[in-house]
Amino acid sequence: MENPDSSAEQFPTILPPPVAGSLPTRTGVARERAWPWLLPMVFLLLAIGIYPLIFNIWNSFREFNPMKGRVEPVGLENWQRLFTDPRAFDSIKTTFIYVLSALIIEFILGLAIAALLNSGPWGSGLWQSMLILPMVVPPTVAAVMFKVLENPDYGPLSYYLMKMGITSMQEPLLGGNGKYAMQAVLIPDIWQWTPFFILILLAGMKALPTEPLEAAKVDGANAWQSFFGVTLPMLRPMIAVAVLFRLVDLIKVFDYIYVLTSGGPGTKTEVLSYYDYQRNFATIEWGYGSVLGLVILVIAIVVANVYVKVFKVQW
């Protein structure tokens, strides 16, 4: 084996001697000397990540005064308002209903379809390719598409639901008294994001070692027992990642609500992000809007961490 000292002599300009008192890295470059290379990225992160966050926190202590046309300091007023605003609490509740409904349905459907595709049915390659299509459609476009599909007068989806006796002209998917308003906004979400679960879980299933499954078969396990007893536990890391990604994404849901129901009827489908949007754009309450934005951030962080702890997610 070559002596490191002789190597340093051989390439003196590339590998300068370590600075006294610092730990040499694998390449021999001192940690301090890495900073110039990292600075551009650090500035970028500060500009697009940290600055908006700090600005938002600062803004949460100010409010736009429409009478004066200026933003003024209001102290803790916006934060106090948060705790006395029933609409904010309702929107948090609606957000959780939406998130849980979408997550559970998308996961179960995704898992079932992934298992089906993993069994290698005819045309499975084609189906897998087609599954990507919904995900490349911008959510707003998907929402507009479903606005047409769900229209009670000419929407095919609405037509078939009425035919099956699930909805009616008096209580259609969209409109009426809003009995199915939540379902109306969940449908495009499920259509668009179930393939995300399918693709991740399918990739996970294909990567699983075959030996445990073969051993289970030798031990006399049937297909169901193999799936729930062997495949599913081995898929745990993939499930954890997929659920976490969707969980965080769902907490921020906006497009389907904005296009399909505008949070209505009343506030039945008003999720937190839509309520926040209304504060910022419709009523021009930028300070309170910042508070709600921070609440979304906190909820996303807390929920994600709780999920990781409770389900003992291992990376």
Binding site: G175, G266, T267, N280, F281, A282
Partner: protein, 501 residues
């Protein structure tokens, strides 16, 4: 520029209509061409994101600009050659028309570039608010809904002052008195200050299906009772086949719902405020008006609670309504044979008489209770503009008599602001069935002059109208309250709290 299918379709439509109006092709040939390109327009109408649907296609017009205007643009506008001015507006018929006209008739002559940003109404409000708060002059010309005039009173120049203080930049024979007086007073003025020039007036008008009325022996309603009776009769006879008594714009939480409510509120003697500044949305007259709206809702498609103005426009266009009281600017789109099933069938009629009416002096915050709800808007020159002179030249040109007339005759539904536009022979020529018709203009003028209703003007109004009234009404119209009284009591409470802030 790459030619898209959509672009080619629109060009085909434009060429076909121009040829027809120039007498070079028959109506049949025109319709055949339009039919081939019609799908794109029908699909576009479903979006409904704009405040008033861009209904009828634009016609290319001869660059008919008076010589003195062209000379003024060269001499006065030419001084600002190379300047870029920024405009932010909602996509409304007049905005779209001026965007189409500005290149040939303004930019090419003056050398001024007009960067016109079109965004949804709520984002216009957000952008203008940001601009006003930061005083940066990011936009030079603002588009204001009439509901915002009180909010931005200190952020724009008074155009009357500019006309007198800048004689060297004055448009030849601009004639500010040519603007209809009710529009100047109720759309573009707050207190004594004029904040801009009126540019658009969607106003509630009464339209009915001539074929259905004839078939059923109905007469245009002259009272609100008759209007309800007609709606019921049509609904009873035809709802099964997909044509309902009427249609509404009752999307919960949407400003459109508040607009519909005020139509029925005002026509039954109610008002949002009384003269002492207290909300009166729960008094007996208001309850009668809102109950009327809820009764009328029974004769509408169930989907009306998801319709904003775009949804309502499409519903009528698809033949779902036997009659409606709504924005006059929708009418040219319904008359468009390319995308409408009811071309030539919808007929304008005088508004029914109010069942009761509160006097303006008994209402508050400049509110004018009457059935002809107006949702007008203004173009205003920002006080923070860094190129205010160039922007002022453009603003005068865009709101001048000739430009306004061209905006009204190229199709799209732009309503006139000036008496001279209503009287112009080019406008009169278009009083025929077809895309971009002006055959509703005489009744529109009558409504503006005699039946115009105006919402209260107070700085908090955008919040109150959308965030309180439209949301709570959304609950009320979908069974969220036990009674109208309960819902309106809550609305009054919330409105009074917001008004005090």
């Amino acid at each position: 520029m790459k030619e898209t299918n959509d672009f080619r379709e629109k060009m085909a439509i434009s060429n076909a209509i121009n040829s027809f109006y120039a007498g070079r092709t028959s109506r049949r040939t025109m319709l055949k061409t339009l039919g081939a390109a019609g799908v794109g327009f029908s699909a576009a109408g479903m979006m409904g994101s704009s405040r008033r649907t861009m209904a009828a296609p634009m016609r290319a017009v001869e660059a008919a600009q008076p010589d003195d205007v062209t000379a003024w643009l060269k001499d006065v506008g030419g001084q600002f050659k190379g300047t870029t001015i920024k405009v932010v507006s909602e996509e409304t018929p007049p905005s779209r028309a001026i965007i189409n006209l500005k290149k040939d008739l303004f930019e090419d002559i003056t050398g001024i570039t007009v960067d016109w940003e079109v965004v949804p109404l709520d984002q216009v409000l957000a952008k203008v608010s940001q601009d006003a708060a930061a005083q940066l002059g990011a936009n030079d010309i603002y588009y204001f809904d009439q509901a915002w005039v009180g909010r931005f009173i200190n952020d724009t120049f008074d155009p009357r002052e500019l006309l007198s203080s800048k004689p060297d930049l004055a448009f030849p024979n601009y004639n500010i008195d040519d603007f209809l007086e009710p529009l100047v007073k109720h759309i573009a003025t707050y207190g004594d200050k004029m904040i801009g020039f009126p540019c658009d007036v969607p106003i509630a008008m009464y339209f009915y299906r001539q074929d259905i009325y004839d078939e059923m022996g109905l007469k245009p309603a002259t009272t609100m009772e008759e209007y309800m009776a007609n709606a019921k009769a049509i609904n009873d006879a035809m709802a099964g086949s997909g044509t309902y008594g009427t249609v509404g714009q009752m999307k919960s939480g949407h400003y459109a719902l508040e607009c519909d409510m005020t139509i029925y509120l005002w026509s039954h003697g109610g008002s949002v405020y009384t003269a002492d500044g207290q909300c009166s949305l729960n008094d007996a007259a208001a309850i009668t008006g809102v109950d009327y709206m809820r009764e009328l809702q029974q004769y509408m498609p169930a989907a009306v609670t998801s319709y904003d103005w775009g949804g309502q426009f499409t519903a009528i266009q698809q033949g779902q309504g036997g009659q409606v009281i709504t924005w006059g600017e929708d009418f040219p789109g319904w008359d468009d044979p390319v995308s409408s099933k009811v071309s030539g069938l919808m007929t304008p009629a005088p508004l029914p008489a109010n069942a009761a009416q509160r006097k303006p002096e008994e209402a508050g915050f400049e509110e004018i209770p009457d059935l002809g709800h107006q949702g007008g808007s203004t173009y205003c020159l920002s006080k923070y503009s860094k190129v205010a002179d160039a922007a002022w030249v453009f603003l005068q040109w865009a709101t001048s008599s000739n430009t306004q007339t061209l905006a009204s005759v190229i199709g799209g539904g732009a309503s006139p602001m000036r008496q001279s536009t209503f009287d112009d022979p080019r406008v009169k020529e278009m009083e025929v069935v077809g895309a971009g018709t002006t055959r509703h203009f005489p009744l529109m003028l009558e409504t503006i002059q005699n039946r115009m209703g105006t919402e209260p003007h107070l700085p908090q109004w955008p919040l109150i109208a959308t965030d309180i009234i439209a949301v709570e009404l959304g609950k009320l119209t979908t069974g969220g309250y036990a009674s109208t009284q309960e819902g309106m009591d809550n609305i009054k409470k919330l409105v009074d709290e917001a008004s005090k802030q």
